[in-house]
Symmetry: none
Subunit: 182 residues, 2 copies
DNA sequence: TAATTATGTCAAAAATACCGAACATGCCGA
DNA sequence: TCGGCATGTTCGGTATTTTTGACATAATTA
């Protein structure tokens, strides 16, 4: 892994000069210069300081996988979604023909007052989602969260969870669960 | 983050002594000792060497696996998304702190004229997505599809694919890719 | 054009990390 | 109890990083 090059790319992406970043990070500009030229291998503490000026965590820095940029049916219209609704919780699964799918990608609609119930919704894997309309209440473990349009979640599915919409408007969510042992 | 303590825990977990680890890593035992006592902040290069003796990557080391999923954040607002954008293709990853995530859940925005490029975008796994605003052109294999708001896709990531927005309006997509090796 | 400001780089001094070799402790078997 | 033997710690010296304070270049302004 090319630490110097990576730092340089990130810094440029943020539109910072070596000196600006140095000031924010509390190090000197020459430190940045040398790190970027790989003429030194920074100490963890100083790299951390530098990244705080971005700001960026060490994990993010080292997970450079983000540099991406980055005969089944492929496209499904609303009419093609597979309906898995129960009561006021409407679930539309994308890719109904996909047999051994690795994940469940769904459009979920929670009508006012709807609830996935108290039952521990337990399964292996992880799930994530984004609110595209309305708001709802998410319980994970014993924490209760309130999510509104534009908010997202990501948690380990082994933790008991529950979706509830105590509000006046329907709430629409796009979600993904993996594996699709649903 | 307590680098020394973390190293110590990992080393013990692997049943290694400071000297054993030192030998495998190609450093001296005193180095390990000092790192674990936080009497120094190791350079990236030496920490990397040490971890190779485990073996463990820097990402894994800093992603603090010790944290149970219960301590992970669950909800992410737009400000918390991790930005993986390149040029006119804007990628926002949900769950940046999730170390070994099983999937990448993202909000993608394709500006007019943007394109993920001709390069075969090849990786294992599967991916799905839903258009929440605008429209775009999806190429999978040698098929070209046109998706508009409300349409979705689901395909095997081993098939070469490409995202392109030749239209006048930005296109926004919610997507999920698994595994997150992208 | 000249002065100004911003950029990145470099050399030597200061600070810090690392090595090599000792030291201290505890454990186990003779 | 003693002598290995393995453990982790400490210390002086060496190697590396970081700062300090320059220099060179390019872009901007007077």
């Amino acid at each position: 892994m090319d630490v110097g090059e990576r730092l340089k790319v990130i810094r440029k992406q943020k539109g910072l000069s070596q000196r600006e970043l140095a000031k924010r990070a509390g190090v000197t500009n020459s430190t940045i210069s040398m790190i970027e030229k790989n003429s030194v291998s920074p100490s963890v503490s100083s790299l951390k300081k530098v990244l705080q000026g971005i700001p960026m965590s060490l994990v993010e820095f080292f997970s450079d996988e983000g540099e991406t940029s980055a005969t089944q049916p492929v496209v499904y219209g609303p009419a093609d979604f597979m309906d898995l609704s129960v009561d006021d919780v409407k679930l539309k699964l994308v890719g109904k023909a996909f047999g051994r799918r690795a994940m469940a990608f769904m459009i979920e609609t929670y009508e006012p007052g709807s609830d996935t119930g108290e039952d521990p919704y337990l399964h292996d894997g992880e799930e994530a989602g984004l609110v595209i309309r309305g708001q709802f209440e998410l319980t994970v473990g014993d924490e209760i969260y309130h999510l509104k349009e534009g908010d997202a979640y990501y948690f380990d599915s082994t933790r008991p969870h529950r979706f509830r919409n105590p509000y006046d408007e329907p709430c629409q969510i796009v979600s993904a669960t993996t594996p699709a042992n649903f």
